[in-house]
């Protein structure tokens, strides 16, 4: 039987606020353990939470970017469970009344467009972290992260294969980073994903029993874990078994999922409205104010690039991967006026160098004015495309302007016919046997002559002119 996977994803994104969600401690990552704590985030007796309004604002941004309905009145609830990284014995989260509901994200997988529904987006506080010492029976608690604001974005079970799931995640990640509300760092846990997956016979409407997958800390691992889980569930179903509803942990080193807890051991979180916090009222006015601050989102930018710059959708996709890269490209185009050539250079040499060194576009030594100047120098024939590669190399290393490099190295293209003619004559004179063979019908040798001329001119000869002149002179 053919089975169809049904996948829904839950994403936790840490918000880039300066301070925690319910106190004024810093949210900075990597500080000395427990140095970013206070009586409130330590859950001392008698303390009370006070809502950080920035968190609401950021969540509204995400809600607007994903076409959600924003609930004018929403509120916090307590999710009760015991764990040493949870200082109060409950997590303040949203339950019955989340900030946003019923949105969507458009994805494109293997050329096919699809709309993935978003069930809800809600705000909550992060827990701390346990540190285990392998050489000691003790564990340690670091509560720097306790109270860092999170949003949880829950998708509908709309994805039908692992590629779609990965694409949805990338789009979501991209939106969060574009909005500058999350740094998207998966390794530091700023962007975390849990997945719900079940199989059903193809054509069946009813969902099968699902497993919840946790502990996947990269896009690749999400996809790998889902692929593994599809195989595992398929094997169970094909051998006549039943999938158990449970939570499973992805083991990266083994490439498998392990059962963490079953349905019977599932927590009863005893949710109830948090009496310490008053409902959050969001006026239409507030929503409009936030809407005005929204940047152009990746999808819109992509479509505009194709339309405005007449570049292939593939190029537009690469160039809009981040806001900084898109800005870099647009600035270059604005200065040189050659969108496609600019796209080739940015996607090729610029990103090539940066990726190799794992650097980001904002750290690129070649800034848009220099790149645009170089493109113009190619266009007006001052340098050849080939020389340009050399020039760019130097620009990237030294940060100097292309003109400076060209002048210093004497790289200006030779377009003077007399000079070229002389160079060609010298080449032909030095290669009498090849000239003879060529004239005897060995056309392939033409390239050899071009190469020799380029070599003689240290690559500065205008290739087009060399071609024309060579053809003429060999015909004589």
């Amino acid at each position: 039987m053919e089975y169809e996977p049904v996948i829904g994803l839950e994403v936790h994104a840490q918000l880039l606020t300066e301070t925690k969600i319910f106190c004024s401690c810093s949210t900075k990552f990597g500080a000395a353990p427990n140095s970013h704590t206070c009586p409130i985030c330590l859950g001392m007796p008698g303390v009370l939470p006070v809502m950080n309004r920035k968190v609401v604002e950021y969540t509204i941004k995400m809600a607007l970017a994903t076409h959600c309905r924003i609930n004018g009145e929403n509120s916090f609830a307590r999710k009760n469970y015991f764990y040493p990284d949870l200082p109060k014995g409950y997590q303040i989260s949203q339950y019955a009344y989340p900030l946003a509901e019923d949105g969507y994200v458009d994805v494109e997988t293997n050329g096919e467009k699809k709309r993935i529904g978003i069930t809800r987006i809600h705000m909550e506080e992060d827990a701390g972290k346990l540190v285990h010492d392998e050489n000691s029976p003790s564990s340690y608690v670091n509560l720097n992260r306790a109270g860092v604001p999170l949003i949880e974005i829950v998708s509908e079970p709309d994805m039908r294969n692992t590629e779609e799931a990965a694409d949805y995640l990338r789009r979501l990640h991209e939106i969060l980073v574009y909005l500058e509300i999350c740094d998207g760092n998966m390794e530091e846990g700023s962007f975390r994903c849990d997945a719900n997956i079940s199989l059903r016979p193809k054509g069946e409407d009813k969902f099968g029993t699902r497993a919840e997958l946790k502990n996947m800390n990269s896009f690749r691992n999400v996809q790998r874990a889902l692929e593994y889980e599809i195989k595992r569930q398929q094997y169970i179903l094909e051998s006549g078994g039943e999938v158990v509803q449970e939570t499973r942990l992805w083991d990266d080193s083994q490439g498998v999922t392990h059962s963490m807890r079953g349905k019977e051991e599932a927590h009863d979180y005893r949710y109830f409205p948090d009496p310490d916090l008053i409902p959050i009222v969001i006026s239409g006015e507030w929503i409009e104010k936030v809407r005005e601050t929204l940047p152009e989102l990746p999808l819109a930018k992509r479509e505009r690039f194709v339309r405005e710059y007449d570049i292939p959708p593939y190029d537009a996709g690469v160039l809009t991967a981040s806001r900084n890269l898109a800005d870099y490209y647009e600035e270059t185009v604005r200065l040189c006026g050659r969108p496609k050539i600019a796209s080739n250079w940015v996607m090729g040499d610029v990103l090539g160098h940066l990726n190799e060194e794992k650097r980001e576009i904002k750290d690129c030594t070649v800034r848009p004015p220099a790149l645009a100047e170089m493109i113009k120098l190619i266009e007006d024939g001052t340098i050849s495309g080939k020389i340009a590669k050399e020039v760019f190399e130097d620009m990237y290393k030294s940060g100097r302007s292309p003109k400076e490099i060209i002048e210093e190295k004497g790289l200006v293209q030779i377009t003077d016919e007399d000079t070229l003619q002389k160079a060609i004559e010298e080449v032909l004179e030095a290669s009498p046997s090849q000239v003879e063979q060529y004239k005897g019908g060995k056309d392939k040798l033409f390239g050899y002559f071009v190469g020799q001329v380029m070599k003689a001119t240290r690559g500065k000869a205008n290739p087009k002119l060399v071609n024309e002149l060579l053809k003429k002179m060999l015909a004589d």
């Binding site: 009586p39 001392m44 008698g46 303390v47 009760n80 015991f82 014995g89 409950y90 005893r270 109830f272």
Partner: protein, 487 residues
């Protein structure tokens, strides 16, 4: 003259006139404590050294003419309010060694007003109780009869004021924990409107019901303390940013032309005849002051106890989850081979007393999936109805008058084996917490055996002024004799 016997306003006058000093007052209070504390046991922690030192400092300031509202006045606070650097136990073994790194907002406000802290008053463990018998540390005795309970949960705060072991004190009231002990100890106790006083630093029992309020020797002192502690606090989202009047202005205004509502549902069978007798007498006296007393109805009164004992334990079960032995307070070290769960279980088994455990279990059950709708949600709906009952009644009257408690102080141990009987001693006070309205208890006479009886007055949201107005009028003109306990 014993300074410890006087009120805040009397001592203020004397200090202003230079007739006494803070050091003299504090010494007088500690002399009294030395004489009676062994018998009464109002305090978990006494702050003798710091109090005497602060008194000397206060005297220096006073000499410079720098006199604040509470300059040099010795105050006690219930051990549920966090005090920076001073052990705060909440009456529990699980916090027997907990020293907060911060001051609660009310403590900070009183400190800024010049108050001197005498000590941390005894209480029922986590404020769960009506007799102060569930305290891990000791049983506070009623100063009027040392074989009887002082009421609870703020029994220590009430007894300390009644026994002149401080000039005034703060307590907290979740279901009657200020008004009931005030009635049983013969002092004035006010529970403000929910949101009137900051809860920041008040160790939470039931967050949607808890309020801090004063215990005082008379109504004027009550107004003085309310002026200091009321008001919005940015650290407490549930504190309300409405302006605070000067409560002293409500003193001596009289109540001519007022309508006082008497809820028929509160005059039930089982109410002690001496209590109902005293209340009837008080009603007559209030009518004598020019007020009209009418019967009103609060039809959902019967459901108060049930709703309260769902909502309060449910919130408590969550509020008390943080006492897990991980970060502060008691930790019962797990033995060889025992895991985290074992540490949790042992810490909480050994750290909490029976009544606290009972309520954690009730609350956990009420919030469990599948039961939430039937219990917590239903109780919340009942709360709305109770609130509406009061809103309806307050359309017809200025304040509502009831007995504070159905009986005078009972004997120590009398109800400890019968939680339901214990719960019923708050039957007249719970509704104000469920509805969020303010309530005051003022002394209204004594039983033949010499036990105080309390009169409860309730008003609409943020109408503490009205309570002070009528309580002050009654206090001034009532012919009820005023006695002092003999310890």
């Amino acid at each position: 003259m014993e300074l410890s016997r006087l009120t805040i306003h009397e001592l203020q006058e004397m200090i202003k006139k230079g007739e006494t000093t803070s050091s003299d007052i504090v010494e007088s209070v500690f002399k009294r404590i030395d004489a009676v504390e062994d018998k009464v046991r109002s305090y978990i922690t006494l702050l003798r050294d710091s109090a005497l030192e602060e008194a000397q400092q206060a005297d220096r300031e006073i000499k410079k003419g720098n006199i604040k509202t509470l300059s040099g006045i010795p105050i006690a606070v219930k051990d549920i309010m966090c005090t920076r650097g001073v052990r705060t136990t909440c009456g529990s073994r699980i916090l027997h060694n907990y020293v907060p790194p911060y001051d609660s907002t009310v403590v900070m406000k009183l400190r800024e007003a010049g108050a001197i802290f005498v000590g941390k008053a005894n209480m029922d463990e986590f404020a769960m109780g009506s007799s102060t018998e569930t305290s891990y540390f000791e049983i506070t005795k009623n100063p009027w009869d040392l074989e009887r309970i002082p009421g609870g949960s703020s029994g220590g705060s009430a007894a300390a004021v009644a026994a002149d072991e401080c000039i005034a004190s703060l307590g907290s009231d979740t279901g009657g924990s200020i008004r009931q002990p005030a009635a049983l100890c013969g002092v004035v106790g006010l529970k403000p409107t929910y949101g009137r006083v900051s809860r920041f630093g008040l160790i939470a029992f039931a967050s949607s019901l808890d309020q801090i309020g004063p215990f005082t020797k008379d109504v004027e002192d009550c107004a003085i303390l309310m002026n200091l502690i009321a008001g919005h606090d940015p650290m407490d989202s549930t504190s309300v940013p409405t302006s605070v009047p000067d409560y002293r202005e409500y003193l001596s205004r009289g109540i001519a032309g007022w309508t006082v509502g008497i809820p028929k549902e509160y005059f039930i069978e089982g109410i002690d005849p001496e209590v109902s007798g005293a209340i009837e007498k008080a009603i007559k006296e209030i009518e004598g002051l020019g007020a009209k007393c009418i019967e009103v109805s609060l039809p959902h009164t019967d459901y108060c106890v049930a709703a309260y004992y769902i909502v309060a334990p449910a919130e408590a079960s969550s509020n008390l989850a943080r006492y897990d032995g991980v970060r502060y307070g008691l930790r019962s070290e797990s033995g060889e081979g025992e895991d985290l769960l074992e540490m949790y279980k042992r810490t909480r088994s050994e750290g909490f007393g029976a009544e606290v455990k009972r309520r954690i279990m009730i609350g956990t059950y009420a919030l469990s999936s599948g039961y939430y709708d039937a219990y917590y949600k239903k109780a919340s709906q009942v709360r709305t109805l109770i609130k509406r009952d009061f809103e309806e009644s307050f359309k017809k009257c200025d304040v509502i008058l009831t007995p504070t408690t159905p009986t005078p102080a009972f004997k120590i141990g009398e109800k400890t084996d019968d939680p339901l009987q214990m719960y019923l001693s708050d039957i007249f006070t719970l509704s104000a917490n469920l509805a969020g309205i303010p309530g005051i208890s003022v002394p209204c006479g004594y039983t033949k055996a010499g036990l105080p009886i309390g009169l409860q007055l309730l008003a609409g949201h943020f109408e503490e002024g009205k309570l002070i107005q009528i309580a002050s009028a009654y206090e001034k003109h009532s012919k009820t004799e005023k006695r002092r306990p003999e310890i």
